[in-house]
């Protein structure tokens, strides 16, 4: 397994380089260093000298990818791409274009993102599995049919509607919790209830329906029929045989998103004014802060790759038939 993991990490390097090149290209297709300078310097009284000075100060006065004025290896190293990207691989994130230490900002914003994402994931998992089990247990009955219809309805509603509707109904109309905001420590709980609740409810439709199919698939297998034939009670069949085997795809599906929980949710964090990494990314895009954008994309890619490796490892744990080689 160790060799396998090392190999996967080695594969990750060209992927990360590719992601970096792509991010770099897409960012600079839309924004030129001059535009970035203008945005950072403000829109009034900005002189050409000020733009040139800002670019030079922030290292944006060099060619993007290839420096034709340089020779040898410097043709590629004396460029914005090389200077801005190579340090990422050492996880040296440097400073944002307005001078903030990016690593520090990430460390500060990671917790609020996780404070929403982890409860939403765990509670959502519990609710979805329970609901799916209920539908599978009563498969073919009015409970199952009503449940599926409910799932389809929940899936058809946009995420934005859940947020605005939730804020309107629970926070404005019923005044049960704050509409938005965040606090540190235990004070955060009252701010997190609403976004977590909305995260859970908005995920029930797709989650429960997806898990139901796993349960039904397992419930129709021979070993389940054998268990029933042995005279086991339905609950024992469902919990000991169906649930345990259906958990394999569920657990792997959860593991793959675990690292990405750090990245936060763009929409939820924005509407609830949660100071997480999702809003950090959005702010950086709006401010054309390439330093932060590239770090966040890089970090997202790294975490996604970690997620995939974790899935492979998890497979070997939950399903003894799988061996990594």
């Amino acid at each position: 397994m160790f060799a396998y993991i090392v190999r996967r990490i080695a594969y990750a390097i060209p992927i990360l380089i590719g992601v970096n090149v792509l991010t770099f290209y897409l960012f600079f297709v839309v924004n030129s260093p001059d535009d970035m300078a203008r945005l950072h310097l403000g829109m009034k009284h900005v002189t050409a000298e000020a733009i040139a000075s800002w670019k030079s100060d922030h290292g944006y006065d060099k060619p993007l990818l290839v420096n034709h004025k340089a020779s040898g290896i410097r043709e590629f190293t004396d460029t914005i791409f090389f200077e801005k990207s190579v340090r990422l691989f050492a996880f040296d994130f440097g400073f944002s274009d307005d001078g903030r230490d990016i690593s520090y900002d990430i460390s500060q914003r990671m917790l609020p993102s996780l404070a929403i994402a982890i409860p939403a994931l765990l509670v959502g998992l519990l609710v979805n599995v329970t609901f799916a089990m209920l539908m599978a247990f009563f498969r073919g009955t009015y409970v199952d049919v009503s449940g599926v219809i409910l799932c389809v309805i929940l899936m058809s509603i946009s995420g934005m509607f859940y947020i605005i509707g939730g804020q309107f109904l629970l926070a404005k109309l019923f005044r049960l919790m704050p509409i938005s905001g965040y606090a540190s420590g235990l004070g955060a709980i009252k701010f997190l209830i609403l976004p977590v609740l909305i995260g859970v409810i908005s995920g029930i439709g797709s989650g429960a329906r997806w898990y139901r199919t796993f349960f039904l698939e397992e419930a129709g297998k021979d070993f389940v029929r054998t268990a029933r034939a042995k005279g086991l009670s339905e609950s024992l069949v469902m919990f000991r045989h169906v649930l345990r085997n259906a958990l394999i795809p569920i657990v792997t599906g959860v593991v793959v998103v675990l690292p990405l929980l750090f990245m936060g949710s763009l929409l939820t964090e924005s509407f609830f004014s949660i100071p997480g990494l999702g809003s950090y990314t959005i702010d950086a895009i709006n401010k054309q802060d390439f330093a932060v954008v590239r770090v966040m994309v890089f970090l997202g890619s790294v975490l996604y790759i970690i997620g995939l490796i974790l899935v492979d490892i998890t497979y070997t744990i939950v399903d003894p038939r799988v061996r990594l080689s």
């Binding site: 924004n31 535009d35 100060d57």
Partner: protein, 736 residues
Amino acid sequence: MQTTRAYSMRGRSAIAAALCTVLLLLVACNGQPWNRPYPAADAARNIYYASFSERPNHLDPAQSYSSNEVLFTGQIYEPPLQYHYLKRPYQLIPLTATEVPRAHYLDAQGNPLADDAPAAQIAFSEYDIHIKPGIHYQPHPAFARDAQGRLRYAHLTARDLDGIHSLGDFTATGTRELVAADYVYQIKRLAHPKLHCPILGLMSEYIVGLADYSATLEQAWNELSASGEPGGYLDLARYPLTGVQVLDRYSYRIRIHGKYPQLLYWLAMPFFAPVPPEVDAFYAQPGMSERNITLDWYPVGTGPYMLTVNNPNRQMVMVRNPEFHGETYPLEGEPSDRAAGLLVDAGKPLPFIDRIVFSLEKEDIPYWNKFLQGYYDSSGITSDSFDQAISIGAGGEVSLTDAMKRKGIQLNTAVASSIYYTGFNMLDPVVGGYSERARKLRQAISIAIDTEEYVSIFLNGRGIPAQGMIPPGIFGYVEGAAGINPVMYDVTPRGPRRKSIAQARRLLAGAGYPDGRDIHTGKPLVLNFDTAAVGPDAKARLDWLTKQFAKLDLQLVIRATDYNRFQDKMQKGTAQIFQWGWNADYPDPENFLFLLYGPNSKVGKNGENAANYRNPEFDRLFEQVKNMENTPQRARLIEQMTDIARQDAPWVWGFFPKQFSLHHVWYKNAKPNLMANNSLKYKRIEPALRARLQAQWNQPVLWPLYVLAVLILAVIVPAVIGYRRRQRQTAFAGAR
């Protein structure tokens, strides 16, 4: 066995009770409304609650310029001058200065000139600024001294900074008296190569020696960087600036080229606030910027408030500066101010509020709802909430809706010192130029674009159609029939009436485009509108604009692009028709007239004249007008300039936006002052009234929780029954 079970039961009960208690404590918030977003202990405290939607980029006074930045720096830093809070037209008064300085004029040889000397003879103007003694800075570690009287944190090593993560981690603080040298130091900082001060280019034209000083500092900075000296502190005391000098401990002099009376307005902005050199040196020490400890993050001033929490991801908090020198509420204002209750606090010491809490609120809906719940003391009005807040009567009169009145919410309106217009690129071969053809074409289009309708549809009436460049409240604005633009309007007994489309068509025909077709080629005239606006809102506006051109059978092609490309087109002069805006820096007509001054063109000069308009007569008059006092002669010249511009029509004279703001009944002394950026010190809160009304408005509605519980039971009980029935079901029964 029984004992174990009893312990277990007791344990479970204890856990349940503890959980319930914690939940109750967390949720019920000590009897406060459940939806209160602030700590319960602060409910009755003298705190002002406001929001911000975007993180301020800079809090360094040499860099901060945007309105969302000066909202903070304006309360912390004190430039020598400020605007009178109540009087209109806007009037400069001393802040830390003893008086508003008067200019002394000199000829090229340095000989004094009379106050009424012609501008052409004035080679230099000198301003001697005397500051009040006894003003102290807010407590700050940079001023802390040890037993020997040396600055305690002046020579920090990497080891000293272990465990330091923010400014609050420095245990000792100190203060010191404000001196004139601090103002001089800050003016030098405007030229610091690391700071990229937005007004350096502009100020270099005026402050003697500043342009050269910038080059000197650039070279010094490069040498410092090359030497590898850690920290990178450029000691500006070693580099004198000829145009600025310290006269004595409390006086300094600024010498500028020629005559530029508008300098006084700049002296009311944070760019000219004092920065103590030791603070700059403190922040420049190695390891500080890596810890995000910079002047840009932790400002240091003498103002009424100091920033104690700077977490722009969530909250920014300012508290009363214990070292504040003291100031009193104005004793006089406009005639209507007394009746409006704005002079109740006359003569009382400032500031009134102990703490100001700005919370991050990125979206309009939660922001508006929290204002309605009483959790923000004041608010603007977004388009989404306009109908909920404002009702417009049949005669166009604006008032609050009944729902707002019931809550005691009050409305303030003010015409902003801004203008939004549709511009023609005067370098464009079709719409630009100064021929009669081009002039008539632009005039025809100006008539066809119905600004009144635009303001009504898209701004809910929050704007005044512009008759010229100068908005109401600024010297040179002409009210009534005399101020009407005769090119676009007919003066009628019922007020100005936009000229008819038939008249516009006649102008169009005169321009060689009868029925929108080129008289020579017969081809339809196709015009291009360049914009960065996208999205459904923008589409409605663009569709409306296209219809305005269609009134003259002109085809308008919308060339939508991203913001950066749009800026690029404007810089290169390849846009044809565009929309643009300007927000004044100071209340002087020069700050609007220069938007059409030829040497200030966007193309080639990177100036603010986005239309690239260049009329020699207009430019000549501008050079005369820009340095004049507000005299009747100046007003006449401004009228002449306005007439020239109206005839040339480089702009469709858009509108001056009207700002609507709301505040709760407990928020006092609210008077819109669009020039002053330090107005929070005048505001007063009645916390007890606020706490009472917040509690009254935010009682939780509990019946939905009971309904939910019943619903859950209604699902669970049949499910349990069904489950049990299935458990008891036999194979035989199933088969049958």
